[in-house]
Amino acid sequence: MHTAIQVENLTRVFNRRGTAPFHALRGVSFDVSYGEVFGLLGPNGAGKTTTIKIMSTLLLPTSGRVTVAGFDVEKGYTHIRPLISLISGGETSGYGILTVEEQLWMFSQFYGMETPVARARIEEYLKIVGMWDSRRQQMNRLSTGMRQKVNLVRGLVTDPKVLFLDEPTLGVDVEASVIIRNIVRNWVREKPERSIILTTHYMAEADELCSRVAIINHGLILANAPPSQLKADLDSRAHYEITVDRLDGEQLNLITAHMGEGNDLVLGVDKVTNSPMLVAHLMHESDIARLITALAGQGVTLEYMRKLEPTLEDAFLKMVGKRFEDEEEVSPVS
């Protein structure tokens, strides 16, 4: 079996006193294979956490079907739970009065791990995250980043097949975020029968870690593809920023005419050097050679050039932004 998770036409409606029902998920479908890091991106209130909660058996679907490791989340949850783990960002869970070691040991017992095995894994992972020296510190004395590292270790110690990461680097500093991402990346590589489902607001993180990304908004999947494909679909043109020694309006018009239709050239200022900067949107990457030749022909010297790649954030904003403009009337959020 290659599919870790199957989600078919998943809907979830929340009934709240005094307000209309809220449709958090409105027919979501996707698959996650083993060996994959699957990203779920969306603005606040899109339905990411609701989806994670259903997959991790904390919440039942209103309709639709979800299977994790081949078991249905509604009827087969007792078979699913030994195989999964959940790590949420901004977590305040745990017992503040326990030490790091005690806390991790306690959670390992909830998975039925033998103490010697648990202790060995705890030591291994604490060393990886650089928390081994803090193992005897009480949890309520840890900083946010340290807590999140301990949470990550908690999730990994039990060696789950499917790991749910709900904004794992939320509120965590750069160094700790890098460590967490490295661990996430290597964890799946080590054993291809593992999978990770990751939700995040940090596009760079999703771009870096995820083999596939689903963009969700208002309870609907807008896109489901590898990050490279999402970026490529965004805009097929090549974009360059070129800082030059001089360029006036007349020269720009001549060069624009020379480049032909479909190639746009915009003149601005380099904020660092204050030199003129040309932003070129070219139909084909090969057109850059013609542009440089044209600039040289005008006696313009290139000082600096870089290629602008579309980012996942650009793709996300385009999809979600468009959706905000196009959106139908939806039930009010409670």
């Binding site: 739970r81 977590e91 869970s93 326990l98 017992q109 909830f110």
Partner: protein, 271 residues
């Protein structure tokens, strides 16, 4: 089966560990909790002296003072615990794990009972020493049996209540707060339950403390005659109650967890 049993035991052990060793990290509670229990006991002993009752009532109150902390622990340390775990964000981590909820609660009960035992024994000791109470030691083994059965039944009831707290949260907490003191009164903690009349005693008997205390008083206080039933019958009823509570708890936890998953109550905080 063996795997499930081992998982149950490991979870129980881990959760009890938190309660027992976590308490030890700030040991001021030992002195304070003993003093608190002692003051409550003293209040009622002097009340009875004011009312002109016989000295046997001192023994009754001391035994009541011994049992009340267990009931408090059942109500606030076990029944409400899933509510607090949810508020702290631990409940979802516990539920995502394969460990059964009942294992957490039994672990809490074991840890809570051990913690409460120290306090109750200290209160009992001070009560005997300060007020010169005399108990019959001949029936001590039987009293110990009655006590353990009462605990089993009480904590079973606590686990039943915990399922209510899991779903209802604040409403259940407020209800528990409301009925706590009347329950202490009706269970005969401060006076022989027989004085409530048969009708009320019948209802109060559902609280294991009622019959447990009555049986303990019969076995340990020589002059105690105002009993509800013979202690042998009370022991049997307590065993029956305990078994029934365990069955109800087992069903209720599963049913309420399903309902809570359906109604999105498992992670709903600040209800």
């Amino acid at each position: 089966m063996k795997k499930k049993f081992l998982l149950f035991l490991r979870t129980l052990n881990a959760r009890a560990y938190v309660r027992i060793f976590g308490q030890m990290r700030e040991a001021t509670w030992v002195v304070a909790s003993v003093l608190g229990g002692f003051f409550t006991m003293t209040t009622y002993i002097y009340l009875y002296r004011t009312l002109g009752t016989g000295s046997e009532f001192t023994g009754l109150v001391v035994l009541g003072g011994f049992m009340i902390p267990f009931f408090m622990n059942v109500l606030w340390g076990v029944a409400t615990q899933l509510y607090w775990e949810k508020e702290m964000g631990n409940l979802e981590l516990m539920l995502v794990s394969p460990a059964p909820l009942s294992a957490f609660l039994v672990g809490l009960s074991v840890g809570g009972a051990m913690h409460t035992m120290l306090r109750s024994l200290a209160v009992l000791f001070f009560g005997i020493a300060v007020f010169k109470v005399q108990f019959t030691v001949l029936h001590l083994p039987l009293a110990l049996l009655v006590f353990l059965v009462t605990l089993f039944s009480m904590y079973g009831l606590g686990i039943v209540f915990s399922s209510l707290f899991l779903y209802h949260g604040r409403d259940a907490w407020r209800t528990a707060d409301l009925v706590m003191e009347p329950t202490n009164v009706l269970s005969g903690s401060y006076f022989p339950a027989r004085f409530l009349g048969l009708g009320l005693v019948g209802i109060a008997a559902l609280i294991p403390t009622t019959l447990g205390l009555d049986a303990l008083r019969q076995l340990l206080v020589p002059s105690f005659t105002v009993k509800v039933l013979d202690w042998r019958w009370e022991l049997l009823i307590l065993i029956g109650l305990g078994v029934v509570f365990v069955f109800i708890a087992s069903w209720a936890l599963r049913a309420v967890e399903y309902k809570a998953r359906r109604d999105a109550r498992l992670t709903l905080r600040w209800q």
